[in-house]
Structures are given as structure tokens and as C-alpha cells.
Amino acid sequence: MGCCFSSDEDKVETNIQNPNERTPLLYPQPGEQQNQGGRSGPIYSQQNQTGDEQSEFTRILRQTAINVIDVTSTESHNIEQGDMQDRATQYSNRLNMVLQGSGKSRVYRPNLPTGITSPQMTLAAAPISISDVQLITSVSEKLANAAREIKIQHKESLVVTFGVP
């Protein structure tokens, strides 16, 4: 007739008598476990923080990768390097011909401020003032509220019958 506490002892004895790949060679003492847990606490929290930053960084990278259309990955594997060079030269020559002919050499200029000649002066100057930050904040809030009031009203059909008698 077995007793209540005999099962645990049996298990331990069985493990020791029949060792397999999961049998630990050293059984850790309870005191050691507590000490290890106490020491590794801050390390775990640091790892969690780093993991959060890493996951956030990974999320941004994934979002950016979704937004970018990678045109090189579709065809570049099927084209030899020589053909690739020939095509690149041909495309750039044609693009240059079109740009020279139209007289628009700087089509993609976005008209934003184009750098400064003395960066040390700008870097040494005082940063943006609080009044400017408050100004842009208040203006953007007012404009956002005004934009929320815009409602698109349907006036005429967007589909026009063309050539139908």
C-alpha cells in the first residue's frame, strides 16, 4: 500500500537510476536559485527595455519596407550583369537626352531651403524659441479643427456616359 509522499521520491530515484539527456547532473539548491533571481532582476528589465526598442525599430523597418517598392528584386536575378549595365547606360542616356531637350534639368527640386554656407553660425545660434513652437502648435491646431469641418458634398455624377446614344 503506497503512501502520499512516496510518488515524488520514486520519481527522483527513477530519474537518477535511469538517466537520460534531460536529467540534470547538479540539482540547484533553493537558496542559490533565490540569489540568482535577485541578481538577474535588473538584467532582465534591461533586456526587456532593449527588446522593446528592438521591436519598435523592427516595426519601423518593416513599415518602411512595406512602403518601398523594391524594383531590383523582381528582375535582377534573371538578367546577367552585362545586360544590366547595358540597360542602365541606355536608360540614363535616354533620360539625359530628354532632360536636355526639355531644358528641365532640376525637375525634382522641392523648393525647400537648400542648405547654408556657414553651418557653424547656425549650429552656434540659439535653438528655436518657445514662442515659435507655440505659434506653430496653435496654428496647426486651428487649421486641423477647420479642416475637420470640410465635408465633401456629392453634386454631380463622377461617371460620365461617353459615346452612348
Binding site: 547654408i116 515659435d132 505659434l135 496654428v139 486641423a144 477647420a146 469641418e149
Partner: protein, 90 residues
Amino acid sequence: MERTLEMQLEESIHNPGITGVLCVDNNGLCLGAKGSAPLKACGSISALAGQAAKLANPNGPTPVICLESEHGIVLIKKTDKLTTALFKSS
């Protein structure tokens, strides 16, 4: 309708030093402009504000971007559906 937006744009350009105001939606479409603001910069401003917002705390306020040049500064701020750019002369 958009009359309120036009009035706010007109009001904001009367601030001292402001030479132009741009109002762009999240797709880079210009919703309104006043003063000497370059309309070609709409897409760039929207994209710039979107990239900067990714770096900031998503629960906090959106960052204010300041582009500095010798002739003045450009202040950019993004709200939920709108990006505002103020062109200020120095």
C-alpha cells in the same frame, strides 16, 4: 466648408515674420496655401512630418520640425490628418 480653413490661413499669415503658410493632408495633397509658400514642397513636407512622427512617442505630442536656412526658417507640425508648414523670414 473650406471657408473656415481659408480664414484660418489668412489669419495665421498675419503673424509677425510669417511669409507663407501651407496646409497639406497625409497624402501630400495641398489643402490650402497663403503667401509665398512653395506649392511644390507639399509632398516633401508631408513625408518629412510623417517620418519625424515615427521617431517620436506615439502617445505624446507630435514633434515640431524646424528647417533652418540663411533666409529664414520653416516650421512644420503634423496633427492627425493634417500637416502645417509656416515659412518665417529671419
